[in-house]
């Protein structure tokens, strides 16, 4: 699994992606990790099929005792079906995820890890010396859904927003925004159900100061590509299955 340090100051952001060992028909996912002091947060740790690659990759950078927190943006299997395994290897960790999904996410196995449900309005989480914000992104696409904003690093983890369906060996970063839009279009039109939810999210995130935007699939956005994405997304009609 490819690992890259994205931000390195008093705390660090890593991306783990493009796992060559994952079964072919499984959608490729990007996992992220924030390390601050002796604590860390793994964002959308991924499905059960990539668990061993994820654990091995994380342990290249931090010892197992330092994996203290998990975050799941929503309940999908590619986000958190590995929970039953994390539950055994880091039993003292805490899972932050939408509270609405508790009864569903526990189906993946959560006997030891402490389940910390995030309320609909969002909230904050301190990892080491770093304060992260949970930004509501409900109905995009899941009915209870959060993104994570780091005001110091100016990084927004945007879950399925900004996702693209691409080949396994594609670059981690956007190289040409215009051609990249083709790879994002169907994903957003079909998976995102609500134009109202889309506008609500855009209103929130346009107020944030963002240098890097990290989607859970596809490529990472940097600098002006972020505003370009917001404009493109605003103009896109979503929820298209109802039109058929």
């Amino acid at each position: 699994m490819e690992a890259k340090l994205l931000y390195d100051d008093k705390h660090q952001w890593y991306v783990f992606a493009r796992d060559p060992d994952k079964p072919e028909k499984i959608i490729d996912t990007n996992q992220y990790m924030v390390v601050s002091g002796k604590e860390s947060l793994v964002l959308d740790p991924g499905g059960i099929e990539i668990f061993s690659s994820m654990l091995s990759t994380i342990l290249k950078f931090i010892p197992i005792e330092q994996i203290t927190h998990l975050f799941a943006s929503h309940q999908d299997p590619d986000i958190i079906s590995s929970l039953g395994m994390w539950d055994q290897v880091i039993p003292k960790a805490k899972l932050y995820t939408p509270g609405l999904w508790e009864g569903f996410i526990r189906h993946f196995g959560c006997e030891n890890i402490e389940f910390c449900g995030i309320e609909d309005g969002g909230g904050e989480l301190k990892i080491g010396d770093t304060v992260l914000q949970f930004i509501p992104a409900h109905y995009l696409h899941s009915s209870a859904n959060f993104h994570v904003y780091d005001p110091v690093a100016k990084i927004l983890f945007s879950g399925d927003i900004g996702a693209a369906l691409e080949p396994q060996d594609s670059s981690l970063f956007i190289e040409n925004f215009d051609t990249h839009c083709d790879k994002m279009k169907f994903f957003h039109q079909r998976w995102m159900p609500s134009n109202e939810a889309k506008m609500n999210w855009l209103k929130r995130v346009r107020k944030l100061d963002i240098d890097i935007m990290l989607p859970q699939h596809g490529r990472i956005f940097r600098g002006k590509e972020i505003d370009q994405f917001f404009d493109w997304f605003e103009a896109l009609n979503v929820g298209i299955a109802l039109d058929n």
């Binding site: 060992d21 059960i48 668990f51 061993s52 690659s53 654990l55 091995s56 994380i58 342990l59 290249k60 950078f61 197992i64 039953g84 395994m85 055994q88 290897v89």
Partner: protein, 200 residues
């Protein structure tokens, strides 16, 4: 019959070994750079450090072998990690099937349990073979690092016989020592992770 280790501990151990070897291979790349520098210095110094020519070539070869072996072990550790997780999943499945069997007493569930246990056995045997080979490869890297420290001693000795290159050669000897020691420490940590698993 091959010993069966806890799949949870096995998954953690193999990931820890992969982590140690990833760090060791990063340092081995620095060691390789030091080896290339030493070759350049020996070339520049010519007959003044003639005794070092063979040693620096040996050192460069050793550094490359170390990188290759560390990367191989890293890759094997990942395979072991996948195996451990697969065994873990099979264990969980057998547990659930047994619960189901207690309620249904179905012959079909019996057959599935038997087949799953067979797969578990195969994975476990493979796991045992690979983890033993991993141990011997780690020992091989340790031997490389001992040889590397001998190279450092030779550089230091040669340095005392030159004026112009004394500082450079001494710095090189120190770097070789530091890198070799760091790699050795990661290998020792990897070995102690494996020992803890094998003794569990």
């Amino acid at each position: 019959m091959a010993k069966e280790y806890s799949p949870v501990k096995s998954a953690i151990t193999s990931s820890q070994v992969a982590g140690e070897l990833y760090r060791a291979s990063s340092i081995a790349r620095q060691l390789s750079l030091a080896a290339k520098n030493s070759q350049a210095v020996v070339h520049r110094a010519g007959s003044k450090v003639a005794g070092l020519k063979v040693i620096s070539e040996y050192f460069a070869d050793l550094a490359l072998k170390t990188i290759k072996l560390a990367e191989e072990i890293n890759s094997i550790s990942l395979d072991i990690s996948h195996m451990a997780v697969e065994r873990w999943r099979q264990n969980t499945l057998v547990g659930h099937l047994r619960e189901s069997q207690d309620k249904t007493h179905s012959d079909k569930v019996d057959i599935i349990i038997h087949d799953t246990k067979q797969r578990q056995l195969e994975i476990n045997n493979r796991f045992n073979v690979v983890i033993r080979s991993l141990e011997s490869q780690l020992e091989e890297i340790q031997q490389y690092m001992q040889a590397s420290r001998v190279v450092a001693v030779s550089f230091r000795l040669e340095a005392t016989q030159t004026d112009e290159y004394q500082g450079i050669l001494e710095d090189m000897a120190n770097n070789i020592d530091i890198f070799s020691e760091k790699i050795k420490q990661h290998v020792l940590d990897a070995k102690s992770h494996i020992d803890r698993l094998l003794q569990s």
